[in-house]
């Protein structure tokens, strides 16, 4: 797996910018290198420019500035039909006037492939998504999940090396979506194709990808493997966007190497890992995952700072207990604890000391 923009990836975005109206940049300075066979997900809120990036890669939008390389060649001027990139659209875009078989035959026909070869390929692609019996149906006669599979088969039938998917599972219900996530991942592994996947579902991004690029405001905020992204967010946007997070604003008191102490607005001092802290005295936002908060003294590392908390509400969620409490003046502090036999059940109104491992509290730039 390559790191960003080192120039020898399979797909490379090099200082790419995009503006639709000449006034605002929708994509600002995108540098991204995707390795061959990688599953890369672009994750970000609505309007952050994910689809725009995909469209530039597919050739439907021109990059306003910068270069896009595919397999080492600049493709800025290559028209979409010569790029040989498979694409799955959010609404599937199956041709309604053609049967499933004709839909799959289309990319092969335009490549001038003979009938016999076409039929073997179509059959293989349909079997791959377990839809072999549906070859004579029209798209309108298929369920959403089935259409999804056909769209996938159509994008794969002509053996592209790169497949783009723009929120392909957005229209499916949760159960089907999880099932399809598994199937897409499986296909990716067995075919060895490179996949660029767009979603705004973080769960999807974390479970499927080799690396995730978190987009916001036309920039990649962080590009990392899922575990890295979840456990070591580089800035407060990523910390908030991926998973649930407690935020404690404050000022950096001391800074020693990787660790620092932060004085919260209410005067308490906590320990944290310095992520993008330059100097003491700087404003910061400390983020702590709810499941890393501890309240039993024996679970806390020796010498860790603790902080007072008042339980406001305990929500029973089956596998976990979700405790909302008031910490450092904020009512939104959440602690998650596993629902085990010996778990201490807290009551609203109870006052206690909570703490955490300094590694789990990350001092980030304030937003």
């Amino acid at each position: 797996m390559n790191n960003a923009a080192d120039g020898d990836g399979f797909v490379v975005f090099d200082r790419v910018q995009k503006s639709y109206d000449g006034e605002t940049l929708v994509v600002k300075d995108l540098n991204l290198s995707i390795g061959k066979g990688e599953f890369l997900t672009m994750l970000g809120p609505s309007g952050s420019g994910k689809t725009t990036c995909l469209m530039m890669l597919a050739g439907f939008e021109m990059a306003t500035n910068g270069e896009i390389l595919l397999d080492g060649k600049n493709i800025n001027m290559v028209p979409p039909h010569k790029r040989g990139i498979g694409m799955v659209f959010q609404n599937y875009a199956l041709f309604p006037h053609m049967t499933v078989g004709e839909n799959l035959a289309f990319p092969l026909e335009v490549r001038g492939m003979g009938k016999d070869e076409r039929e073997t390929k179509i059959k293989r692609a349909l079997d791959m998504v377990q839809m072999g019996d549906f070859i004579n149906r029209r798209p309108a006669q298929l369920s959403g999940g089935q259409q999804q599979r056909i769209a996938l088969a159509r994008a794969l039938v002509f053996d592209p090396e790169l497949v783009l998917m723009d929120e392909p599972l957005g229209a499916l219900d949760k159960q089907l979506r999880e099932h399809m996530q598994f199937e897409i991942k499986h296909l990716h592994e067995s075919l060895g194709i490179t996949v660029v996947y767009v979603t705004h579902d973080q769960g999807e991004a974390l479970t499927m990808s080799d690396r995730v690029a978190v987009f916001n405001d036309g920039r990649i905020q962080q590009l990392a493997a899922p575990d890295e992204l979840y456990e070591r967010p580089q800035n407060s946007f990523v910390a908030q966007f991926i998973g649930e997070n407690n935020k404690l604003p404050g000022t950096v008191e001391t800074l020693t190497g990787d660790t620092c102490t932060v004085r919260l607005e209410t005067g308490e001092i906590i320990d944290a890992t310095a992520v993008n802290i330059r100097e003491a005295g700087q404003e910061t936002l400390v983020s702590i995952r709810p499941e890393r908060v501890e309240f039993k003294p024996e679970m806390m590392p020796a010498g860790a700072h603790t902080i007072g908390a008042e339980v406001l509400e305990v929500i029973y969620m089956g596998d976990i207990l979700r405790t909302r409490m008031r910490v450092a003046g904020s009512d939104e502090f959440v602690m998650k604890s596993r629902n085990t036999l010996d778990q201490v059940r807290l009551k609203p109104g109870e006052r206690l000391k909570i703490g955490w491992h300094p590694q789990d509290a990350r001092a980030l730039d304030p937003m």
């Binding site: 597919a58 979409p80 039909h81 041709f95 006037h97 490549r111």
Partner: protein, 419 residues
């Protein structure tokens, strides 16, 4: 095939009423209500549409303006078969009928009816009826003395057939056919055959107009459909502008533009493209009809096309392109087939409208740009042969219905999108 229906032959509701009966009962009320809701519309359609068309169809096969005014001749014809000599008794019947006609002032009406078949006979009736009171038997001599024209066997044949109020003769006439001496159906003299030519010209011109509309409307509709809504709404106003200006004003402005001394010819002469003696004839002929009608009917093609194209998401063409199709292939194999319902609806609409169009060809068509509707109008207003007009109109209606049926067979009427 659910297994519940297989298992029990008769399903019942909880109170033991058969399910079918209960369903009918519960739906009856809703049906009554629905019927009451549509009843006014139904009546309106009946009165304004079904009745007039029925009336028209009836008129094309029924005309009693002679049979009702000539009872004595009717009697004589029924007693004497075709080919019997026209003797004194026949002339006596004629005299008696002319007398009644004079009393009831119906000689003009009867004359007009015979005039359809034998030209120039209307005056025969009116002039003879004027003098009938002064005539004495023997009737044959007396009547022939007033006008030799009564001696024409064609006239008597025409009167004989006019005594039957139900007749297909008007359809024969509308199809350029007539009956010979022996009552056989034959084609009319080729230089008097006009309707067939007119029907054919109407079809050809309508076809040309439809194709032109299609060619012009497709890019316009595509542009409208791919622009953002605010801009396309503005452009739509220009498309609809022809709808909002008076038909006569628009047609007149075409005249100003296209006539031989008109703007376009002046411009061409000024530019030196044509010289002053060779000014183009673009008005008062087929060209004029085609240009003006294409303009007038264009919105009927643009609107259904637009409404279909709006619903085609751009992702289809994009998908085709990403699958390796050139933009032309993507257009031809993916976009075009999806616009077919719109093309079909627009073409049908424009063709049917132009087949029945009347005012524009009348104004700008000149002699060879006239369509069948102009002939219908002529028979309604000038020659007053309503039955022939009705027969022509019925043939037109039949043609349009056949077209509709063909469209339904080929494309399927439920695929049609009118907007």
């Amino acid at each position: 095939m659910s297994d519940t229906t297989m298992a029990s032959p008769e399903l019942t509701t909880a109170d033991g009423v058969p399910l079918k009966k209960a369903l009918v009962r519960s739906e009856a009320r809703a049906k009554r209500r629905a019927f009451l809701l549509v009843a006014p519309l139904f009546l309106f359609v009946l009165i304004t549409f079904v009745v007039p068309i029925g009336q028209m169809l009836f008129q094309s096969v029924y005309n009693d303006s002679f049979s009702a005014t000539a009872p004595a001749l009717d009697k004589w014809f029924s007693e004497h078969p075709q080919g019997a000599p026209i003797d004194e008794s026949a002339y006596a019947a004629l005299a008696s009928d002319l007398k009644t006609m004079k009393e009831n002032r119906t000689q003009g009406q009867a004359g007009t009816r015979i005039n359809y078949d034998v030209a120039g006979t209307r005056s025969l009736f009116t002039s003879t009826a004027r003098k009938i009171d002064r005539l004495e038997p023997p009737w044959k001599e007396a009547i022939l003395g007033v006008n030799e024209g009564w001696n024409d066997p064609n006239l008597w044949r025409a009167m004989r057939s006019a005594t039957h109020p139900y007749t297909i003769d008007f359809y024969l006439a509308a199809l350029d056919m007539t009956r010979d001496k022996n009552d056989n159906i034959v084609g009319v003299n080729p230089d008097r055959a006009i309707y067939g030519k007119l029907f054919w010209r109407t079809a050809v011109l309508s076809f040309i107009i439809t194709v032109l509309c299609m060619i012009l409307a497709f890019p316009i509709a595509h542009l409208l459909a791919s622009l953002p809504l605010a801009k396309s709404n503005l452009l739509m106003i220009f498309v609809l502008l022809p709808f909002w200006t008076s038909l006569l004003v628009r047609t007149t402005s075409w005249m100003v533009l296209l006539q031989q001394q008109g703007v376009l010819n002046d411009l061409l002469v000024w530019l030196g493209i044509v010289n002053n003696d060779g000014r183009l004839e673009m008005m008062y002929n087929k060209t004029g009809t085609i240009i003006a009608m294409t303009h007038i009917l264009l919105p009927f093609m643009v609107l259904p096309l637009y409404s279909v194209m709006r619903t085609i998401p751009p992702s289809y063409v994009r998908a085709a392109r990403s699958l390796g199709a050139t933009s032309w292939t993507a257009f031809r194999r993916i976009y075009l087939p999806q616009t077919l319902p719109g093309i079909g609806a627009g073409a049908l609409l424009v063709f049917i409208l132009s087949v029945g169009y009347y005012i524009t060809p009348a104004l700008v068509g000149g002699a060879d740009g006239q369509l069948i509707s102009n002939m219908i109008a002529f028979h309604m207003q000038k020659s007053l042969n309503w039955s022939l007009a009705a027969a022509l109109a019925s043939l037109l209606l039949a043609g349009v219905l056949i077209l509709y049926w063909l469209y339904d067979r080929l494309v399927g009427i439920d695929n049609m999108k009118l907007g």
